[in-house]
Symmetry: C2
Subunit: 522 residues, 2 copies
């Protein structure tokens, strides 16, 4: 009944056309960041706008709405979409219809005028924020931040009804099915575990213990071509399929492309630092393996896409932190670096391991944060966003609140708003609710990894990592995570399907406790 001829089949055809047009936008976006001549920025802007208009027209077309309704009817209502459906194909079809409905409603419920105001305010917000940050003057940004909050509340009323919880509507944009109540639960566990752990680590580091940078890995003079060759070798070992992707250079590393058969990663190399480029490559390759591993039977359908930002991030962070920040990884990878970059031969596997896990407790900047501190940077932002939406924090108090939370959780106080409340771009266009995904990703990664150890055998997996043999791990991720796409209605449900329990902050805290206490001993 869900075959090619019925409403579901026709809907899928239409969604695939829309996906193909979205693929064009993906190709153009990559091109803009990697290939576009400087003088073509304005023309590319117009091209992207024209394409976005064509996509929007199709995404909001009444015929699409009618087809979704017919497909819902054909499936007897889309409510029962669970992985437990007897027939896997039917379960995917239900999820497809559910996601089509969700996207269509989101796209059609917000009036055009409001969409336009959002785009304008996002652009104005960005410029105000950039100027405020440049001058270190929060007051320049405060009024437009107020407007952005108000506009997002208005959008939420259109999307989720007059009684909508606007922060939940925001969070749902990035983490479908997540709420701030559940986030509160999760981040409480993080706070309780990590704040004292970080204090402890700092105290011990002040006493001269703990992981530190290795001179052979920090001395500079690392030829770019050699770094790239090492990166290509590592990506190949991880299972990156070069027939279905590319590696290039861009200012900020990212994963883009136009389709699972056209997955494009970038990294950046600096002669001065070595491991930033390589860890960036591992991170993006983790994203890329997700994209290349999407379910081919659901090709072109939204259900083949990652369930949430946090789940996508779990795949990059699993490879970056669980694998490449692991001791056994360097047993293998030191050889690659020694071969391509003979200057690193003074550093052995243990040196690499300690170097990539160094902690910098005085750091104020989220994007420079180490694995241990990062969740606390996110915690500050989550608590502030929640406060802004429930009215318990006022915009004008933000710098004070920010600094107090940094002092409390991270033990550092920003000397200026430039390196404090103004450091991130996210709020400047109203992307409230995005920050938690970073840390959710790290937590899913940890929980998935422990499950993989369990199912694949801890000792065997460790031996495979130490040999640069990642085939079973990649296969497990393909099967357990990538192929499922957004079949499940929430990441908690996917997490439960993969690991037997919903996201559990205790798993993550325990992992960090063990790892960093051992590093301090070693």
């Amino acid at each position: 009944m869900a075959g090619g001829g019925g409403a579901v089949g026709r809907l899928k055809g239409r969604l695939r056309d829309l996906d193909a047009l979205g693929g064009c936008a993906g190709a153009l976006g990559w091109d803009e960041l990697v290939m576009l001549p400087g003088g073509a920025a304005a023309a590319r802007g117009r091209q992207k706008a024209a394409l976005a208009a064509a996509v929007h027209e199709r995404a909001t077309h009444p015929e699409l709405g009618a087809l979704i309704g017919a497909a819902e009817e054909e499936l007897g209502g889309a409510g029962g979409a669970t992985a437990a459906a007897a027939d896997a194909a039917l379960a995917f079809d239900r999820a497809t219809v559910r996601d089509a409905r969700r996207a269509f409603d989101r796209a059609t419920r917000v009036p055009e005028e409001l969409v336009k105001r959002q785009a304008e305010l996002g652009s104005r917000g960005y410029h105000c924020w950039a100027e405020a940050r440049e001058k270190g003057d929060f007051d320049l940004f405060a009024p437009v931040l107020e407007e952005l909050l108000e506009l997002r509340r208005e959008v939420a009323r259109h999307v989720a009804g007059p009684e909508a919880d606007a922060y939940n509507t925001q969070i749902d944009l990035y983490e479908r099915g997540m709420t701030h109540a559940r986030l509160q639960e999760i981040f409480s566990g993080i706070k309780e575990g990590l704040v004292p752990l970080l204090e402890d680590v700092k105290a011990q580091m002040a006493a001269g213990r703990g992981p530190a940078p290795h001179p052979a890995l920090s001395s500079g003079g690392f030829p770019l071509a050699a770094q790239e060759a090492a990166c290509r070798e590592i990506a190949t070992a991880m299972g990156f399929d070069w027939e279905r992707g590319r590696l290039d250079v861009s200012v900020h590393p990212f994963t883009g492309g136009s389709h699972p058969s056209d997955v494009r990663i970038t990294t950046r190399y600096s002669e001065d630092t070595l491991l930033d480029g390589i860890m960036g490559l591992v991170h993006e390759t983790g994203h890329a393996l997700y994209e290349q591993g999407r379910n081919p039977e659901q090709d072109g359908l939204p259900v083949s896409e990652a369930l949430s930002m946090g789940i996508h991030e779990s795949q990059s962070l699993l490879w970056e932190r669980m694998v490449a920040q692991r001791r056994s990884f360097w047993t293998w990878a030191e050889g690659i670096l020694h071969e391509h970059l003979p200057g690193t031969r003074d550093a052995g596997a243990e040196d690499f391991y300690r170097h990539v896990n160094r902690v910098n407790p005085g750091n104020l900047i989220r994007v420079d944060a180490d694995e241990l501190s990062y969740p606390l940077h996110v915690l500050v932002r989550f608590e502030i966003e929640r406060g802004l939406f429930d009215g318990s924090i006022r915009v004008r108090d933000l710098p004070r609140v920010w600094n107090a939370k940094y002092a409390e959780y991270l033990g550092v106080e920003p000397p200026s708003d430039k390196v404090g409340v103004l450091q991130d771009v996210h709020w400047s266009d109203g992307s409230f609710g995005y920050f938690p995904s970073y840390t959710l990703g790290a937590m899913y990664a940890c929980q998935f990894w422990e499950q993989a150890m369990e199912e694949l055998g801890g000792a065997e997996l460790e031996a495979e990592v130490a040999a640069g043999d990642f085939g079973r791990l990649k296969g497990w991720l393909n099967e357990k995570v990538h192929r499922l796409g957004s079949l499940h209605p929430s990441a908690d449900e996917l997490c439960e399907a993969v690991t037997g329990s919903k996201l559990d902050p205790a798993v993550f805290v325990r992992y960090l406790e063990r790892k960093y206490r051992a590093l301090l001993e070693g």
Copy 2:
């Protein structure tokens, strides 16, 4: 009256949106040939089809048709579009409306069913042709060629009415305003002048005279990176704007991109041959200078595009043949090659000059033809196409007719259809009428060049070329050709505006006579 508020203004806005969407297709097309991973071909095909559907929808939208009608009315009918219009801006507006009408009628007059049949037959035709060529068996291609001819006749009846001259309709696709009667006039001049000249050159070459390859330029072992560095230097001297373009490598050299601010050329380098890559680069840079030189005031409007294939080709060939196959060019360029490729130092300017002008009279293949023989390869095809459309040549007789014409005009007889009538891809998807543009381009190039010599001073221009100073030449082409776009209704009219007379085959024949007789003496 033709400002932003009126129908003309609104039409221009709509055309610019359509152009921006076309720019997306341009970016995707370049990407496919230069960047796309092998495994992504199928996905890219679907993406291009989805984008083409969005473009087609807009290009045939009834609102666009109504707007064109209103704009025609606003301008008092579009019939009077000539460069002689008192007001230049108005002249461009008239040409814009004329071109919009032309494109809209072409797009809407052919029924969807026929468009689809055309695409299918084009695809089938390509595969039949490829197989026929592979096996050297024309009979495998003949039936589909019959079908292609019939389909094109049917299309012509839709486009130009039941009494349409189908070959003229085809020619008009590539050379607007051109007819086969006028082509007959032009090619008669070519035939009369070149057939005896080529015979003469062949006889003298058989006696050991004439230009020949130089050992230092044919010995192989030319490093690719050095060739690329030389190419970049030459393109820079020609005036290629790197802020508004790129140079990459592809299997077949081409000029693509998404906008005049994003013009992308490619060439290919081989360690074995040197000047193919460099002459290819000069050729594509000639195309690129046209694209980068399009009228910024008419940005995004069809009137800013090249008037015809032949005119675009005139710009590549002016640089390739009039400039880079000229003696004075090598006075300058030998230094670049000697610097980057020290192995060429045994060859002086005169050696380079004679090397790039070598004639290969036994050659059977159009794409390998030298400057002197090329027009006769095109002549054969033009006469055959005309015969196919007027019924005087039957498809089944093509191999015989082809071979007889090659014997008569070029003095060579193909040993098989593979290197005879099956050598070109053009007819396989029904692109009849395309071939003449190649030689028209060479002729316009010659006539434009002579006019440039006249206006800029022959001796001065020669001295500038010998110094690698191409600024005045490029400026002259920008002003006289590029900025005019398709303001004029036909290439003959543009040619008359630039040079004072319509295309004159005698100019081209005289140029070849003088040059090659001198090469035989030298």
